[in-house]
Amino acid sequence: MNKVVWGLVVLLIILHQDNWLWDNDTLVGGFMPVTVLWHVGISLGAAFTWFLATKFAWPVPPENVPAEEGAKS
């Protein structure tokens, strides 16, 4: 699952480069430029991908990290 999450991040970066919509001025629903709608999708996709990352690729155990003796603060 970890690999799936990082695969999704790479996919988002590729999809962000939407060359296929470069000169497309279609209005979706009559009010939303298709380029904005596409990138709104990227934003929502990013949130979903990061949600998966917190579920399946979280890097540290959930408990508090103890401070070492002699720590600066």
Binding site: V36, W58, V60, V65, A67, E68, S73
Partner: protein
Amino acid sequence: MTQLVIIGCYLGLLLLLGVFSSRLFRGTSKDYMLASHSIGPFLLLMSIFGTTMTAFALVGSTGEAFKEGVGVYGLLASSSGIVHSLCFFLLGIKLWTLGHKYGYTTQIQFFRDRLQSDKIGVLLFPILVGLVIPYLLIGVMSSGSVISSMTAGKPTPAGIVDGAFERGTFPDFLELGKNSEGELTFAAGSAGGFPKHLASLIVCGVVLVYVFFGGMRGTAWANAFQTIVFMILGCVTFYVIAMKLGQQSTLLESMRAATARLPKEKLIRGMVGSHEGMSKVKFFTYMLVPLSVGMFPHLFQHWLTAKNANSFKLPVIAHPIFIMIVWVPCVMVGAWASSDLFFGTLPLPLQAKLAGNANIVLPVLVKTLAGPVLGGFLTAGILAAIMSSLDSQFLCIGTMFTEDIVKHYSAKDSISDRKSIFIARWFIILIVLITYALSLLEPKSVFTLGVWCFSGFSSLFPLVFAALYWKRLTKAGGYACVIAAFGSWLYLFRDSGFAKNTDYALYIPGTEYEILPVAAMVLCSTLSMIVASLVTKPPEEEHLKRFFA
């Protein structure tokens, strides 16, 4: 005058919040600078988001969309949604873990420890502070301009009408400004509004009060409050402006009517960047600009305030959505403002003013289309976005000076905890005064300068990434990265005419592929770091165990 009263009440509320949060202050430097690692998920999300969303998010995005069209969203916002959260996830959590374990308060403490080098701090301190200062200037100057333009009167052949103040209320140096012929006039100055330099001073004073008394806890609370304010008021602004521009019975119909009046070049991504449009390669290199958050010193400090690693989960997930909520309305409204529904209806002097300075589009829209009460609230929303970044930056510079310079170079235990807070507070005052004084010089290309600062931080990103994920990074590699990043930044900055050339770009050698300067800087700093690390002796295994357990 109504707007001014509402703005005054809002600033008063912030002062009260500062006083309230100072009552929660525990009296230690750890509490002053890091809120005793007590910030939970919600407050962390709001404070991090409020800090990363500067004046540029509201005022700049609207202005850019006014000039370039709706493609600005893909250029700057959706990429930030991916990259910012990536930085929180890959860097924030690890730095929080190490910071909590070894007691770091600043980035420089981490790099000194990781690279086993005292002098890396001497090299990094002026670079980090130097890159934050223009960022601060954007906030200070924008706050004054917003208050002034929102309270200013309308220019008519008979003079200024409906301004909050009569001519002569303030001294000439506050009221007069140079017009296009170079003459000092009231219309080109405050035009009946609250003088911008005085407004900037008041905003600086308010931020200073709650940072001075509340420290990081006050800053986090104020950021959360201000983030809620500017997000809600941003949505209200969108609704009001859409309804007024579209003139239809429903929001959807009004949006359709407003968007239908936009020409093709404002509806596509291909024309963003310049009159000829932007190359696809250059668009891709824009993805590197948001990497700057990985090296923002003020964000590092916010990361360390987290109560535990799990507190990062909400910010990581919600950050892209929050960016979307703020940016989509701003971009749409900015594009609509360029149509004949709004721009075409403005008096010629105002059209000329907007064409010369697109960053005043949002205040002009709000002032023209919303009533005075709503206009006042919306101004408060814009100020909220600006101040929620200023506070963290002021606190961070005060913290860095205290920890990385004063305490680091003083005899051990010679600076008491109480004295640390005292030094941080007084250095914050000094930085506020310096920033305010610089803002009086009114550097014209301050927004372009902001992009250069982001690029500078991005070029240092390889350093923090390698410090956390590459065992082979050595002291020499760290120095090479910083020197190459700063050297390439300085060279390209000079080559762009010190930000005067706003369309400045580079070309991949032997090709016609245009790229942003940041791509060259990141490449330069990364290669220098790798080569210098590989040709020098690797760090001791025992030392590395502390960071790569």
